[in-house]
């Protein structure tokens, strides 16, 4: 299969008018103009359109298995395609958990059969040492450590074995960094504080230095957490992401919206949000993830018992592009935080830039298309959002995975099963 994509290309040399030739899933040429017989030409030489390297979300929950009522790989990756994401990295807190090699293999089988976009799979801390085995690295892109349950508890020893294994296999360790010692009781139940985040970040950095794994702190939510992270980043190899809602929403919104906006870690103050935005813009915080965490509406009914999280794949990019239109972010910040850096963090050198030899993953955005966030139209099974009703300007108009258009103009145009595990990128 050979395709050509034309338009304003976001490259390392700046935004250029040009064409991209993709052959059998790989970018084989990037030039001012390419005139060749190909199977398909996608021409985006239109006002306000930009061709970005394919966006990558390092933190999503595709659920599936016994939690398919919340989401499954087909609807979850469909939401990704709608939102402009070409790769999503799936968290292991499923039912059953992805913390045994047999379950990981089943996860791969299910994902392969349903996914629309490419995916990475994380492995969780197992219950037995015997489940830390050679072979995990063939299918999993990294480990997820949920520190409050897996480090600040009697599971610590087993978790350290996972960290040792990750070091040795050179696999990424993504940490949900919160120390329960600093949790407080709130109307939403027990909730993390900025101190909880800062304390856990200090601990994960120390562990990384003990064992040698590469740590990534996911969903930074507070200024204190970000400061602690930035302090260590100066002397150690550590990366972090934050989520759009930590940049835009605050505890005021949480009070206003109740259970829908309940998330873990909880929303902090607007001063925290401001600081996170500043540090995202100056590159201190490496990446943005959606932490797409769908639940059924019933599970979001009551404030105290509501499960934390909400869907994010279909709101992340429109919200970020709206920030670009308002001058709060540059398009280069989005390319860096949503494509280049997450690819690097995941160790995927084959994606993250529009260059010859890279995989042909592209996200094409129309900077000026307007809409109102309407959860009823989500492809995700979770049809609610703390951003419901927001006017947005800018969204993805095409999602291209290995040369194949998966979403065009707001419609999924490929069969489930096109998506592949990023471990096949080589």
């Amino acid at each position: 299969m050979r395709s050509i994509v034309k338009g304003k290309l976001f490259t390392s040399k700046g935004i250029l008018d040009g064409s991209i030739l993709i052959e059998d899933g790989r970018i084989t040429r990037v030039a001012r103009d390419i005139q060749e017989q190909v199977d398909r030409v996608l021409d985006y030489r239109k006002k306000g359109h930009i061709v970005l390297p394919g966006l990558v979300d390092m933190h999503v929950h595709m659920r599936d298995f016994e939690l398919s009522y919340k989401e499954d790989f087909y609807t979850g990756t469909g939401a990704a395609a709608m939102g402009g994401f070409t790769v999503v990295a799936d968290m292991p807190n499923t039912k059953p958990k992805v913390n045994k090699l047999a379950v990981l293999r089943e996860r791969e089988r299910v994902a392969k059969s349903k996914a629309l976009v490419d995916y990475g799979l994380y492995y969780g801390v197992p219950d037995r040492e015997d489940d830390i085995v050679d072979g995990i690295e063939a299918l999993a892109i990294g480990f997820k450590v949920f520190m409050q349950h897996e480090f600040y508890t009697d599971k610590r020893e087993l978790t350290e074995k996972v960290l040792e294994f990750a070091s040795w296999k050179k696999m990424l360790v993504v940490a949900h960094a919160e120390n329960p010692k600093f949790f407080v009781k709130t109307q939403m139940g027990t909730a993390g504080t900025p101190e909880a985040e800062a304390s856990a970040i200090k601990d994960i950095t120390g562990l990384a230095s003990s064992y040698g794994f590469q740590p990534h702190v996911t969903h930074l939510s507070s200024a204190a957490g970000a400061r602690e992270f930035l302090k260590w980043k100066k002397q150690a190899r550590i990366t972090a992401d934050t989520c759009p809602y930590y940049l835009l929403l605050s505890d005021d919104d949480a009070r206003l919206q109740g259970a829908i906006a309940k998330v873990h870690p909880p929303l902090k103050s607007s001063a925290d949000a401001e600081f996170l935005l500043k540090k995202l813009k100056d590159g201190g915080i490496d990446a943005i993830s959606s932490d797409h965490a769908p639940h059924s509406l019933e599970e979001k009914a009551n404030l105290e018992s509501a499960l934390p999280g909400f869907p994010g794949l279909e709101t992340t990019l429109p919200i970020l592009l709206t920030m670009v239109n308002k001058g709060l972010l540059g398009i280069e910040d989005i390319a860096r935080a949503c494509a280049t850096n997450p690819s690097k963090n995941l160790g995927l050198n084959m994606i993250g830039a529009i260059e010859e030899g890279k995989i042909g993953n592209l996200t094409i955005v129309d900077l000026h298309r307007r809409a109102k966030i309407d959860p009823k139209t989500f492809v995700s099974k979770a049809k609610y959002s703390p951003f419901e009703g927001r006017e947005v300007e800018g969204m993805a108009v095409a999602t291209i995975v290995r040369g194949q258009p998966v979403m065009l103009d707001g419609e999924v145009v490929t069969q489930g099963g096109w998506g592949e595990n990023v471990k096949t990128y080589g």
Binding site: I132, V133, W168, S210, A236
Partner: protein, 307 residues
């Protein structure tokens, strides 16, 4: 000759044999996964009576990479041992299933006993407090690989030289070579045991015992750091004092040669400043990574996959 041999103590090997293992390990570094099934259809039995994730996994990975398969257990609980089966019976059973047995046991001498019972080669993956021959091979390989030689180097060991298995096994291994000098730097209470001191005096190794790293840092080629454990000190204040004076910080290394390498059997706690991790001195993460090729080399040699 390697084929069919047991690996119980590093002392059973000659210098020439260790160098042979290094040369094969260097080749193994370049073999990708399952590219060369040198040990196709061979079975490794991992008998871990005491858990040790890294050692077990790196043996497993080594065997897989050579195209073989692995059976065994990583904890005596859940096996018939817990029900009272004795060591000899377990070894006999593994002997009939496997082509090589890798064993870890709390009791000193357990591996030797197993080797007497089993017909297939037995590799000691750590027993008692002195012997962990494959760890010693990896430590020496790291020095050989990073600096090109072991002879003529000034090598310092610091930390707990009394109770640590890693320090003991590399010391035994170093007696096979001719380093310029081996400096043993530790607080008085953690100096090598008398037994080790006697052994070293009986060998040709030029060694020196001291308490101050600062005095020798500028002359060192290799700094091998081990952990000082709090439990070893009856007085916590004494521990805090000692801990600080043996901490490896960038300031200390700024006086070292440019080519000095720092090793550590990992995990480290805070005996090495985290700012050292990113410097060219730090080779401990690489040292951990050499575990697989060295074990591949040993397995391939013992099972006749290479000569």
């Amino acid at each position: 000759m390697f084929k069919g041999r047991d690996v119980i103590s590093i002392l059973d090997f000659t210098r020439g044999e260790l160098e042979k293992i290094f040369r094969v390990a260097l080749k193994m570094e370049r073999i990708g996964k399952r590219e060369k099934p040198l040990l196709k259809d061979r079975v490794l039995a991992a008998a871990f009576f005491e858990p040790s994730t890294r050692t077990r996994l790196s043996f497993e990975a080594a065997m897989h990479r050579l195209g073989g398969s692995v059976i065994g257990f990583s904890d005596a609980e859940g096996t018939s041992l817990a029900k009272g089966e004795n060591l000899a019976d377990t070894v006999k059973m593994l002997d009939s299933y496997a082509d090589v047995i890798v064993m870890r046991h709390r009791v000193e001498g357990a591996a030797k006993l197993a080797a007497e019972i089993a017909e297939v080669p037995v590799i000691n993956a750590g027993d008692g407090s002195k012997h962990h021959p494959t760890q010693a091979m990896i430590d020496l390989y790291t020095i050989w690989r990073e600096l090109g030689r072991i002879d003529g180097l000034h090598i310092a060991l610091t930390g707990d030289l009394r109770y640590g298995r890693a320090a003991a096994s590399i010391l035994y291994a170093l007696t096979k070579f001719k380093p310029k000098r081996v400096s043993l730097i530790s607080p008085a209470s953690l100096k090598p045991r008398k037994e080790m001191g006697d052994f070293l005096r009986g060998s040709k190794l030029k060694f020196f015992e001291g308490e101050n790293l600062e005095e020798i840092i500028q002359d060192l080629d290799v700094l091998y750091v081990t952990r000082i454990q709090k439990e070893r000190f009856p007085d916590p204040a004494e521990y805090e004092k000692v801990k600080g004076s043996y901490r490896i910080a960038p300031e200390l290394l700024s006086r070292a040669k440019k080519t000095t390498i720092v090793l550590h059997p990992l995990p480290k706690i805070d005996e090495i400043d985290l700012q050292v991790d990113g410097t060219k001195f730090a080779k401990y993460f690489q040292q951990a990574a050499y575990g697989v090729p060295v074990r591949m080399a040993l397995l391939a040699l013992l099972l006749g996959g290479v000569r």
